[in-house]
Symmetry: D2
Subunit: 381 residues, 4 copies
């Protein structure tokens, strides 16, 4: 039986555009989803790039003006993979046009923009989704299950790190196509919005909202050449950020992110300590979840390394067989499968704009705290 088709228009042919295109191409081949996503229109302001990208990935048509694409009646879903400083404008237009939206994180440049976008999207009444793809790492989804089942009991501690090292050299330029994440005017913030947003989303998903935060940020290399030029300009983003948090449920949280941790490439970690057990995760060995169960008999008690590739683990019955792991791209496909499923059933499965606003608000509070050097209360999304 032929599935109902869902026409996709994707804006932005960068790294995330590639990850999402791959997801649209593959999702139906591995998941029995209620819709068939049709790779209808690819859009990028750079015409040649868009053409080449579209040919490679099998997008049916190419647009260079996202407004035209959004105006098309035959587009059901707009997927926004552009730099952060364009999210607001595009999403407001999509809301006005009644489009379903899939947005690469973070939601917006700041919570002010985010609130405006949530209001517009909720008024439009169409589903939204933000690609916090690390929720869809099977080990992270399993962690969520374990916590929700009460296996950890009362939560005392949450600690998260997100460490990278790619900007240690002072010779790395800022800005441009590849490195817009180092340019505050385009990215909004540095590691806070780029990396800690993931950690905050995960923490909130697992154990609920934060009440207050206290942060420090640092920019280690004060000036960098702008990409494509040779003039040094002040670096305006945060290279590093660490913060303390108190969750509403009484748990304590510590968070840290940097791009100056030599030897760490994508070390996104969390550890949760509860009264009955603990969990620990490191994205650099993403197929493993560490679980300590205090109820095990004492002489044979120990941290269990759960290799999350059994068919009983989240998403894994759709992939290969035990021992045959998946990788970075599959987390996006898992996320997309959930989104398509939720479009069919109406049951919310993914973080939507309002959830992402919650994360944005924490990011803003973190940056404000670092600036004012004091604790900041976290507002409600």
């Amino acid at each position: 039986m032929a599935k109902k088709k869902l026409n996709i228009g994707l804006i932005g042919c960068g790294f995330m555009g590639k990850a999402h295109s791959n997801a649209y191409l593959k999702v139906g081949k591995f998941f029995d989803v209620p819709f068939e996503p049709v790779m209808k229109v690819i859009c990028d302001s750079n015409a040649e790039k868009a053409k080449c990208f579209g040919d490679n990935w099998g997008w049916q048509e190419v647009e260079t003006d996202w407004r035209k694409m959004v105006a098309r009646k035959d587009i059901d879903v707009v997927d926004i993979c552009t730099p952060n400083n364009t999210h607001r404008e595009i999403s407001l237009a999509c809301a006005a046009a009644g489009k379903i939206m899939a947005m690469e994180k973070p939601l917006a440049m700041d919570a002010g923009e985010g609130r405006e976008m949530v209001t517009a999207a909720e008024k439009a009444g169409k589903p939204t989704m933000v690609w916090f793809n690390y929720r869809r790492v099977p080990a992270a989804s399993l962690a969520k299950q374990i916590i929700d089942e009460g296996k950890l009991g009362r939560i005392f501690h949450y600690r998260a790190k997100y460490l990278q090292d790619y900007t240690i050299s002072p010779d790395v330029p800022q800005g441009g196509d590849a490195l817009w994440r180092l340019d505050a005017k385009v990215a909004g913030s540095g590691v806070t919005g780029d990396l800690l947003a993931h950690s905050i989303d995960m923490a909130t998903w697992f154990i609920g909202p934060m009440a207050r935060v206290c942060a420090m940020t640092e920019t280690f290399i004060k000036e960098r050449v702008m990409a494509g030029g040779d003039k040094k300009m002040p670096v305006t983003i945060d290279d590093a950020c660490a913060f303390l948090a108190r969750f509403e449920n009484g748990a304590l949280g510590t968070f840290e992110s940097t791009r100056y941790a030599c030897g760490r490439k994508n070390q996104n970690t969390f550890e949760v300590n509860g009264e009955y057990g603990s969990l620990a995760f490191d994205l650099e060995t993403a197929h493993e979840l560490e679980y300590f169960n205090h109820a095990d008999p004492i002489s044979v008690r120990g941290w269990r390394t759960i290799q999350t590739w059994d068919s009983k683990h989240p998403y894994m019955k759709n992939w290969w067989v035990p021992g045959c792991g998946i990788g970075y791209e599959h987390w996006h496909i898992n996320a997309l499968a959930d989104f398509l499923e939720s479009l069919g059933s109406g049951k919310k499965l993914c973080p939507d704009f309002r959830d992402a606003l919650g994360t944005q608000i924490v990011c803003d509070a973190v940056l404000e705290s670092a600036k004012k050097e004091k604790w900041i209360a976290v507002a409600k999304p």
Copy 2:
């Protein structure tokens, strides 16, 4: 510029057929290969399965008789993903029809068949390739580079294990579509041909041919129900196999495989000890290669965990960015990319039928040694 197309016909809609289909779908999207593989014909004797599989993966046409498919002029490459006891007949037909062949391992039921197939294929003069996909794990390819560069110096030891646990329960049946690997009439042998074939191929690729082997095999569960029935029949395959080896270059090898190692899902390991350093690998953390370099200053000397996801590591410039790993499916895609590259350049990059025959000969020697309980010399392929 449009690439030259290469029409593919694939036989067998099982697990490997899926892995290969995925490779044909994706290879051109990530690698700049000299040919565009066209997913022309899918073939399976089960018509409904073939139809369904073909629809899902985008194969243009469906056949139920592989002879018809092989007879088609418009098929350039035949990919053989059928059970082992069909490899000989199909490959001889393909050779007669002048097809390029891609064969899932192992090559044949035994070395006798294998020799016949090599003779036919070499007479036909078309390229052949056997999908020993684990060579294409970036960490394994890196190991090959390190050894070839002489970084380990003279090799003293090679040790390999390939451990699984899926047949521990006496309730697992044998035979049928899913479990033909447990049926000697279809598979030829048990863990020897299925798992140790990988270990032997890798070892030979790394450090050259073996001269002599001495093995033991065991079948722990002596009788199992045949799939789909309720009658217990003797189990004829080897559940477990271990062997000692002397390589032609003087190195010692130890090899072991079993499907009775509780807790091991796909633990395919190797360790190489040379005079200047060592390497160690475990497929269950496939993105890591352990490397010990004796030349490091003694106080800071230690095993290095190389996370093989830098763009300088084999195949990785085609995938994502450091810290964003790949998985099982990608090793097949890497292998296919090499094969397409070799078809364009004429430069041999992949194991061909003759290489696979070498592995088959070792497997046969291993089984003979276990049966006769003595050392067996390994013949030349």
Copy 3:
């Protein structure tokens, strides 16, 4: 040639008294130190305990009044292993009596006491030493060497955790002989003085003093039965503490400690990220130091697991042979060997009272910051 003898008087027959007695017994058997420590007098207010302890460990005499022992002319060194609330009084008496002092950490109940003790000790002019034994873990000493040699270059980040789990159960009592660390009147503080003092000492030793800190503390179980009774009383110590720090050299630090991390027994960790490399350590696998050297060629670059049991590693030429590790007790023996060495050469090798005061001041600032919920500047020791 007979060595000069050094008469030791040790106060306190608890856990640390045992660890120190073992050190006095063994140090001369493994290290060629300039003094022979004579186990002269053991002192504990509990006469039976002191007698039994003294017999077991071979102390020559027993005292129940520490004042009498301090008054003896034949005692050269007083080793103070009593609860924290007695450190000041005993040390002032020792200073007045001109004794060399070895003090179990932390120095004092607070920095006020600590300053008084430092003043008295420095006026007396005799050497002092505080047993921060974790400095003497070979891997930690090696880390110090690597940092001092400049192998990491400019330091960007320091992160430390010290996690335990032994107070998760609400049924654990507070106070008494065994659990005085849970009683603020005796211990001064909870995890801050007990565990973070170690982390602070290590961090300061490695990369210099902190300028400012911002902390939060928590007491998860608000009431506990007093040891030996059945009446619940408020818990007055901090169960958990986390803080942000800015070092004087510009590096960022994060520190966390708790006794509520289920599954962590003695997880004292540090990670240092510099411009040329990084180090990481976990006391739960204390013989290993992780080292990342960015200067290694990219394709074979990785975190090195240095097993610090070569004779070239700190202290290890005095112990066994590579592969034969040491344990908890040996770190105390290493510390004692250093102290005896420094007594002979006059060269400072160990943290003295003033160093420990520096740590105490940070602890006080941390507790003040948590109470006032703001950043606190760290005073000079």
Copy 4:
């Protein structure tokens, strides 16, 4: 209450003499054993070495002729730490003199000697013990418990490695005081008797006797200078040995040892696979035992890393507290505690001469198998 004293005479002031002296010094301080070992006489043919060693460790008297020491009425226990080629003669004299014996492994130069020694010792009727100290690593003792409790069920596989690297350089000499283990006339064999003896003892202790073995050995460096000289002589010991084994209970075993595994210092490993679970151990992280329990619910099933430092783990209530590990020397002390305990209770707790003969017989069978290149049946001890 004063304990009954047991006068010890120890022969051999080398590395093992040191490890045993330390054990006699410390055992009573940590274990409540039924005898107090008195360090009565130290004996070494080198008078100066014996004097110096005796002074350092507190031995009361020094002898240079072991015969004189064995003849003394006041010696209860003779501990034999001399090179292997002296074991027979000394032990026969001890048996004749009615001494309790503690012997460093291996028992003898070969099984012939071993049988003679067992006969003499059993005729004398005094207890004997062979220091297979690795049984007393808490993780290994825990493994024994787990197996004996039936937690693994039927055993399918046992695999052991014992890898070192200290003879890779051709410049390492053979023979002399330090390197007599490289001289076949003194050591009997190379890695087989030195290292595999440990692996064989452990395997047999865990799962019972072997029925048959098939081995290969190699000597990679064919000639070495004799220690103290400059003349190269043929190397007569085995540098490396690997063997296949069939246990009497039907399990398969693989064993390998070498001193040519670059980067491995003391990597003594075992893995046991049973129908309900598995165990894995590596002496290089000796405080950890890996345990896989198939009965855990599938989604949270994983290898558990048991940190064997809880008071409920074997021997650990006598040492420190959880998180405060022990090291190499403590395994000897644990063994001695067991031996003293068994002398008090009459209950056998340690491997005796007959057990060690069983291991010797396997070693002989292994060497014979390697020489004859065929399977060899293992005789009864």
